[in-house]
Every structure is written in structure tokens, then in C-alpha cells.
Symmetry: C2
């Protein structure tokens, strides 16, 4: 008999197919590299192929003779536009506002075919620190309620460029998925007076079977009730509210555990399409905002989600995700890789 | 500048790309029919190729000499199993229970290549009445909190068989997506003392630009802030709580508007993969259940969701969906088809 499991954070149930849990080969599909989407690649050019503003260019301090390692550009066709005001308004019984926000592209490497996890910890640490710098800067704009940092790897995960890159989208609203997580964390904090993520860390350390990798500062594990098989969460071991609080000594630890997790996913699932999403606390606003967290009730983390199949009507209509591989089996495959 | 719009029911914001709204050709991809997934097709056989229990076999009353038009079978590898008990339990700090439920396959037509909307209203009405009969029967089992009726059309929408079919999954929990909708409808009802769906119907009739089709009993429209471009909702015009309250005279009207909407989607988007999901009120339970609705605060409806692209990391991480075509443009294309 299969098992139903509840995500403790947002109350979502998932179906875990415990009866005949599948090994990674179940998910292998045609992963041949498609033809380049755009030639020449706009993220390859030394200058700036997007033709937009260069926001930041960062060298690798380990390699002082090197050219720029990571570059931040304004997006060419931004989803949300920086200039203008929100103009919240009613449309009949409904609500709308202008698409104000920011959309930055972080070019992770000057090389077209090299992902940061393939060229050593130093480069990955530069990338992770670039994330921190850009988030800290964008948090100053009080029009933005949330900064969503994410990476689409592979076409099936929504990637528009073949060149390794990630993105930051600043939104004038707190997105629904974020609100649910904040709400779950806050409800738990009110009830227990403890951070739910700190408690999840203790539980995972105690259980052990869902751990993927660990080091002095971070723990990586497959959650008890994830949305996707082989999903991995990376959390700082000690309570930390916002990614921008990341200390220099933590950056190296994060680079090494993230590199390890990405390499494990690549090896086990044959370079799967995946998304990386930073779940960070919302921006501090000068006025009171319903979704603003305390320092104690939210704990930033990274989610790595391999995109192995499309949702069907059942999952789309119910939000009840189906996991052909149990989280414990998935973690075992990843841990041993 | 693009527009942010809020779904009034569950508070989800979407980005509507008002600046360069795309026409249907933007979504054309390779739609060649793939080779049959399983030979011989288990849903084609006169007997029962699944080898499972036949629950119901319905003839078309318009055609008394015809063989069975619609057949309901137990699913072969059910996601949730009928026999057993729930055994709710704690697993460390988490929650789990047994995968108890029901999973029925509704074979919509004896012909492998003919969808019900292609062979006239009579057959579609038989199918819609079969849905009603099965839902009414399953509602009697007090272990089930919710019955999810859905159809996956096309592989990209999650279809496992090429033969036209739909499914009912009975779940022992109220799924997250359903809970959000019930919660939104109830909050609105408490505030206004009116059904939110009845108010949406009035608003859509007044606005007019999002209407796709209408008849005496039903209205079909593209919602103000949908999750997918070309998404269509079909609602009974007069307040009706549960699909099992569908009256015989309404069945014909529903068959004709659903047939029209499916034909329009096929024509405009070149036979796209889609999901059909019935949003019905939860089962009445003998004991008090937090999610149980009043008769007045929920209004059943059908959602048709063309599956035109995969979510990227931004949508997956934020729940903020992106619509390359405005709902008003989409409705215009569909209305004129």
C-alpha cells in the first residue's frame, strides 16, 4: 500500500509510492543536447550580447589574472519593468496593478559550456557572493516586497539561454508560494516558539535516512514530503534569517555542498533539467507589511528540484503530488553517488 | 508595461503580458501523434483489457441498438487502494497515513480514435451523466473526503492511455488546491453573504470580453487571472452546490457547451494537450469536517486547462504564473472559432 505524507511547512499532502519505489533509470528520457537556441549566444560575448546595462562584473579572487568570472546584466525583455509606479486599481470586482519590478540575469561563467560546479569551489563561491551582493542591493528598493532568485537548467526546466545563468526577479507582491511557507513557519513559531526549519534540521539529523550531504555549516537532505522525487533542500545548520546575512566563511561551505549536490544529481539522473530556487525571507519594508517575518520565524534555504516529468490533471487539479521514488531511496542513491 | 492581476478566489497573482500579447501560433509545437504506448490498447477490448472489475457500462439512449457507449473500470495500478484503513500516524515530527482511496477509469468511447465531443451531444451527455452517477455512488463512502474527476488529453498533459478516458480519484484528505478554493469562497461568503462564483458570473456577463460561449444553463469564459493562457471555466448560471445535483435537462446543455469549448480549443491551438478538472464541493461527512461547505458558499464548475508549456523555476518557486496572451485576446480567438 502506498503512503500519504504531509509537508509540515505548508500542509500539502503527497502520495509516496512505497510499494514499488523506482530507481533513477525510471526517469531517464532523451537528454541529447538540442541545437543552440540563439546564435551567437548573447551571454557569451565579452562585451554584453544582451545590449543591456551591466550591473556588476566580479573576478575570482583565487585567480587574480583571470578575466571576469561572473557578470550581472539587466534582462533584455524584462518580465517586470523597473521604472514607473504600481497604480493598484480595481477592475470590476477584480484587482490589478502595473508590472513593476526588476529582472537581472547573472551570467555564471564566461564559458558557454561550463557550469560553475564543474570548475571548482572558488568560482562557485564568487557566484554565491554575487547573489548576496545583488540581493542586498535590491532589498533597498522599498517598492519590492520579494526577491526571487532562481536558476533554470535545461529547456525542460524553462531555460531560455543555453549559457549557464541564473536570475533575480524583484516583485511588488509577496508571491503565493512564499506566503504559504511564511505562514506555515509563523504558525509553527507561534505554537512552539521555535523555528520550524531548526526543528526539521534536528529531525533529519536524528532520522539520517534522508541526508544527502553535510559539512560544518550546512545540511543537504531530501524532504519528508517533497513535490518532486530527488528534490534536495540545503539549509544553514545554525539559524539564519536572510541570505544576505551569509558570512564570508559560510560562503565556501555553501559552495562545496551545493557543488556536491549538483554533481550528484548530474551523475545519478544523467544531467537532468532542474530548477534551483532560493527561499529567502521577504524584504524589510518601512511600513508594516502583513507578510514581514520576525528574525526568528524564517530560515533561508536553497531548493534543488529536478524536473523529471510534467504534472498530470490529477496533480494540477489537486496539488497532491505523486512520488514514484520514496525520499529515503532517493537520498540513498544521492548519498552513495 | 505588463499587468499584474489577482485571482479573486485564492489570491494568486499572475503576470499578464499585455504589451505584446501572443496569438495562438506562438504555442504551436510538434503535435504529431506518437506511436501507441501499449499494444493492444487495454481500453479498446470489448471485454476489459485492464482485467479489472467493470463498475458500470452505459448505453446511449438515443441509439438503442448500440453497444456500450461509456464504460467505468477499476484502475489496474491504483494510486490509492480501496481496501484497508487509514492508520493516521506521526513519523518523528511529521504526519503520514495509508494510501486509501479509489481510482476509477471512465472509458469515454468504445472507439480508440474518437473523442466524445466528435460524435455528437448524445454521447457526451451519456458521459456527463456517468460522471454524476459515479460521483453520487462514491460520495456514500465516508472514508473519502474528496472526489477528483479529471481527464488528461495527450501525453504532455499526463495521459497514460491513448484511448479517450477520464478518471475519478477518491482521496481521504481534502487536497490543497481544493482547500484554497473552498477557503477563498467561504471567506468571500462570510464577508458579502453572496456566492463568489455567482458574483463572478455577473461580472463576466457585464464585462463580456472574456466570454467564450453561453447557453440557457451555462456560461464558459476565460478567467480574469488564469494559470494558463486559453484556460476556460464552465459554470452553471444558476447557483448549484454539487455536480451530483445536475438535473437531466441541464445535462444536454452542459454537453453542448463542453463540446463547443473542446472543439474551439482543438481548432485554435491544433489539438493541444489539455486537462479537464471538475471542481466540486467536498463530500458530506457524518462527523464535522473543517472543510465542509454550506450549500451557499460553493458552486461547482469545470476547468479546461491547455498545457502549452512547462513551468520554469520562477513559476515553480513563486506560484506567480506568466500569461503570454491576455485573457481578453484568448477569449476573442476562442469566441470567433
Amino acid at each position: 500500500m502506498h503512503e500519504l505524507r504531509k509537508d509540515i511547512l505548508i500542509g500539502r499532502w503527497v502520495v509516496v509510492m512505497t510499494d514499488h519505489s523506482k530507481d533513477p533509470s525510471y526517469y531517464f528520457t532523451d537528454r541529447r543536447k538540442p541545437a543552440p537556441r540563439i546564435e551567437p549566444c548573447p551571454l557569451c560575448l565579452q562585451g554584453n550580447g544582451l545590449g543591456t546595462k551591466e550591473i556588476l562584473a566580479v573576478k575570482n579572487p583565487d585567480d587574480p589574472n583571470a578575466s571576469v568570472a561572473v557578470r550581472v546584466l539587466a534582462n533584455k525583455d524584462p518580465l517586470l519593468q523597473v521604472d514607473g509606479d504600481l497604480s493598484r486599481r480595481g477592475v470590476g470586482m477584480y484587482d490589478a496593478m502595473n508590472g513593476i519590478g526588476a529582472n537581472e540575469v547573472i551570467v555564471e561563467s564566461v564559458e558557454h559550456n561550463i557550469e560553475p560546479e564543474e570548475i571548482g569551489n572558488g568560482h562557485m563561491a564568487v557566484l554565491l557572493d554575487t547573489y548576496r551582493q545583488r540581493l542586498a542591493d535590491l532589498q533597498k528598493d522599498t517598492r519590492f516586497r520579494y526577491l526571487l532568485l532562481f536558476k533554470n537548467h535545461g529547456r525542460a526546466a524553462g531555460s531560455a539561454y543555453d549559457h549557464p545563468h541564473s536570475q533575480i526577479v524583484a516583485t511588488p507582491i509577496t508571491p503565493k508560494t512564499v506566503r504559504e511557507e511564511l505562514n506555515g513557519a509563523r504558525t509553527y513559531f507561534k505554537f512552539k516558539e521555535r523555528c520550524i526549519f531548526c526543528d526539521i534540521l534536528s529531525q533529519e539529523m536524528k532520522t539520517g535516512t534522508r541526508i544527502v550531504a553535510e559539512n560544518i555549516d550546512f545540511l543537504a537532505f531530501v524532504p519528508f514530503a517533497p513535490r518532486s522525487p530527488f528534490e534536495i533542500w540545503i539549509l544553514p545548520r545554525r539559524h539564519q534569517h536572510n541570505y544576505t546575512d551569509l558570512k564570508p566563511e559560510q560562503t565556501g561551505s555553501l559552495a562545496s555542498i551545493l557543488t556536491a549536490c549538483l554533481m550528484k544529481l548530474k551523475l545519478i539522473l544523467k544531467d537532468p533539467p532542474y530548477n534551483l530556487v532560493l527561499h529567502n525571507s521577504p524584504n524589510k519594508l518601512p511600513r508594516v507589511d502583513h507578510w514581514q517575518t520576525l528574525e526568528d520565524d524564517f530560515h533561508w534555504h536553497i531548493e534543488l528540484i529536478p524536473r523529471l516529468f510534467r504534472m498530470d490533471g490529477f496533480e494540477w487539479g489537486s496539488g497532491l503530488h505523486i512520488l514514484p521514488t520514496t525520499p529515503e531511496d532517493a537520498a540513498g542513491f544521492l548519498r552513495r553517488a
